[in-house]
């Protein structure tokens, strides 16, 4: 740099620095303020770039999920259909062991007449039917009978129309679902119910969801374990081989990764069937008798085999990327100091690959726990997951609140696991392909 230029910089600085010691920009404003302004503008610009997607995700994804979570506690139908009855029931004590008084029955007649007019009484019937079967029929028969009820006393007329109105249990259920928000769906989702004596577990033979959650968990664990068992040797080999060979072999991992899920599921369906390729080969070799072909599909075994294959690349890729960073000199050093192959691997190499195991295992477990398509196609009835039950409640039984509650529990589980994943690996470190 020439001396004249140095001087000119000093001159500029001298010009910018006024008597009060504040460094100023060329136009006389304090430099600090100018920098803050530039920073603000940059923040605004990056925010403007992010906001379209942020808004899009919030509206197309987060709000729908929030709406679903709300549905798992929302229960305004009783209050909307039978407003006067709900008011009257405030005075009634379910623990008294007596039926509600005549005024409540009169309110029921009044509300039901309106509901029948608007044709919404059957909807309430099917809603309450989720809690106790029989309500659907109760509301249908009473809906017909209530039109003929001219005047009181109503109590006897209702009991005559359907004797369930004389049962205490009917009123206890109506009473416990009169609030606009309910924990009922969540209780059902963990096989519990609200009774007159408080929250209790359902009878042994009616419990299905806890068992299904447990099955989903243990099958996901089994799949994760199988993936680890098969993925670790492959990742180890890929990390040890020279780049040219390992890139070629990597194709064998990446091709399944990129192949459509349905293609892979249909391949397994073809392979595992009773008359499928695997059974044919086994019969041909003579291991299995033609009459006693193995049942490999439509059970838990089918789900585990197919899902291990589908999720295996998700285990191999993170393991490989961690193993690639382990320097071979550690193992060499261990061996030079007298460790045999196994000790060198187990004491030196393996501990360094543990982060990869953690990342891969959590990733596979998170993916497995929410699977729907593969269990639905190869799982039969014993190999289905909680997701399949959610789908059943949405499209077949139409018990949307219960589906939402089951979904909310699954979501919390996955988010918790993901939080752990984020702590171990970090979302930013997610690598693709």
């Amino acid at each position: 740099m020439s001396s004249s230029e140095t001087l000119s910089v000093e001159e500029q600085l001298a010009a910018g620095q006024s008597d009060d010691g504040i460094v100023r920009a060329a136009d006389g404003t304090p430099l600090k303020a100018r920098l803050a302004k530039a920073l603000r503008r940059e923040k605004l610009r990056s925010f403007l770039m992010i906001s379209p997607l942020l808004l899009f995700i919030v509206f197309s994804f987060l709000l729908p999920i929030g709406d679903m979570l709300f549905r798992s506690v929302e229960n305004q139908i009783v209050q909307n259909t039978l407003p006067t009855v709900v008011e009257e029931l405030e005075r009634w004590d379910p623990a008294s062991g007596e039926l509600p008084d005549e005024e409540t029955f009169a309110a029921l007649a009044k509300d039901l007449k309106v509901a029948v007019e608007e044709r919404i009484h059957t909807r309430l019937g099917s809603r309450l039917n989720y809690e106790e079967s029989g309500f659907s029929g109760l509301f249908r028969t009473t809906g017909r009978a209530v039109k003929k009820m001219e005047s009181g006393p109503y109590k006897a007329q209702f009991i005559e129309a359907d004797k369930d109105w004389g049962e205490l249990r009917t009123w206890v259920i109506l009473d416990s679902f009169k609030a606009p928000y309910t924990s009922g769906y969540f209780l059902s989702a963990v096989d519990a119910e609200n009774t007159a004596e408080g929250v209790q577990m359902k009878p042994e033979n009616e419990r299905i969801y806890l068992q299904l959650f447990m099955r989903t968990l243990w099958m996901s664990l089994a799949i994760t374990f199988m993936c680890l068992l098969l993925g670790y040797p492959v990742a180890y080999l890929l990390a040890q081989l020279p780049a040219r060979t390992s890139n070629l072999l990597m194709i064998l991992v990446l091709l399944p990764f990129w192949t459509s899920l349905l293609v892979r599921t249909s391949a397994w369906k073809v392979l595992l069937q009773g008359q499928g390729v695997i059974n044919d080969i086994l019969v041909w070799i003579g291991i299995v008798d033609d009459a006693s072909r193995l049942v490999l599909i439509n059970n838990q075994l089918g789900t585990i085999i197919a899902m291990t294959h589908i999720l295996l690349p998700f285990m191999i890729l993170p393991l490989y990327s961690v193993m690639k960073t382990i320097s071979p000199s550690y193992v060499r050093a261990a061996k030079s100091m007298g460790a045999n192959d196994w000790t060198a691997f187990w004491k030196v190499y393996f501990p360094q690959s543990v982060p990869g195991i953690g990342a891969g295992a959590i990733l596979v477990f998170i993916l497995a726990i929410g699977y729907y398509i593969t269990p639905a196609l190869v799982g039969g009835t014993s190999g289905i997951f909680i997701s399949n039950r959610i789908a059943f409640h949405i499209s077949t039984s139409l018990n949307w609140g219960l589906a939402a509650a089951l979904g909310a529990i699954l979501l919390v589980l996955v988010l918790l696991l993901f939080y752990i994943y984020d702590k171990i690996v970090g979302i930013d470190n997610v690598k693709l392909g």
């Binding site: 923040k43 942020l54 399944p256 899920l261 729907y372 789908a391 949405i394 392909g433």
Partner: protein, 295 residues
């Protein structure tokens, strides 16, 4: 491990080869199911297994009838066209929004960066069944409003629902791949362009875009395959006229499994090989651009 030293003991040699045989078996497990459907799709019979004619390699054991079936059946064809219109639209939306957001996120001063990142990545984390459930309730309400009160055509609304849902599911992949390429991006290049008088838009398209293009394209491919392969959300949101290829396959597998599925599956394997090749070429290009030798 890479090569056996000359002083290796017999156990070491046995272990060396035994380990390779084990790995070969695992590779076989990975690739066999995909390869086995290719010859089966040329089966002349409606069976899902190798017929004696096929094993003898005699020509009458093989035929293209399942492919013919696929290209002539109206339900398969409409499914293919639905897939081929929904996926590109969802990809376009996901790529444009995702790239913009990823560039914004990789600036140095972004407040609440990790919270925003978590929100933007969330569609990838939440199990599909939950996303599908939420969207089913929410979109049907908005859809009903648009059809009944605004008077939009029903099919267009249903189509838009699926495109939007798929775009939302695809954006995390675009964000991740573009953010990864932005790490290697030299910021002084945009400053240099700006100092020479280019406005921000010109700078973006002339300087930044060509350099981060590999990341954008691989993100777009991920978004495309996400939409093209997606079935859970379509099953919940779609009606019969939005039936996509995976949906048609799902029904085919669940109800009456017809061999046409194997022909479709083979075509889709060919598609994934093409995608894989494109991605590999992109990866090499991006490494060359960053001055790393392609490993």
């Amino acid at each position: 491990m890479a090569a056996l030293p000359p002083y290796a003991s017999n156990t070491q040699i046995a272990w060396h080869y035994g380990f390779r045989v084990l790995c070969a078996m695992i590779f076989f497990f990975l690739i066999f199911p995909i390869l086995v459907i290719i010859p089966l799709s040329f089966n002349a019979q409606n069976f899902f297994t190798f017929t004696p004619e096929m094993l003898r390699l005699s020509p009458e054991g093989y035929s293209l009838k399942h492919y013919e079936d696929f290209f002539t059946s109206s339900s398969w064809q409409s499914a293919m066209w639905n897939s081929l219109t929904i996926a590109p639209l969802a990809t376009l939306l996901a790529t444009v929004l995702g790239t913009l957001a990823a560039i914004g996120l990789s600036q140095s001063h972004v407040p609440y960066k990790s919270a925003i990142m978590a929100i933007l990545i969330s569609p990838m984390i939440v199990p599909l069944i939950i996303s599908a459930t939420g969207m089913y309730f929410f979109y049907s309400r908005i859809g009903n409003f648009l059809v009944n009160d605004v008077g939009l055509p029903l099919d267009a609304v249903n189509f838009a629902k699926i495109v939007l849902a798929h775009a939302a599911l695809g954006t995390p992949f675009v964000i991740i791949t573009v953010t990864a390429t932005m790490v290697g991006f030299d910021r002084s290049l945009t400053r240099a362009a700006a100092s020479m008088g280019a406005n921000p838009v010109t700078t973006f398209f002339q300087v930044q875009m060509p350099l981060i293009l590999p990341g954008v394209i691989s993100g777009a491919l991920f978004a495309f395959i996400t939409s093209f392969d997606e079935v859970v959300v379509v099953l919940f949101l779609g009606t019969a006229s939005q039936k996509t290829l995976p949906w048609q396959m799902f029904i085919g597998l669940r109800e009456q499994i017809s061999p046409t599925i194997l022909a479709v599956a083979t075509i889709m394997v060919a598609l994934s090989i093409m995608l894989l090749t494109t991605l590999e070429l992109l990866r090499r290009r991006s490494e060359r651009l960053r001055g790393l030798s392609p490993s």
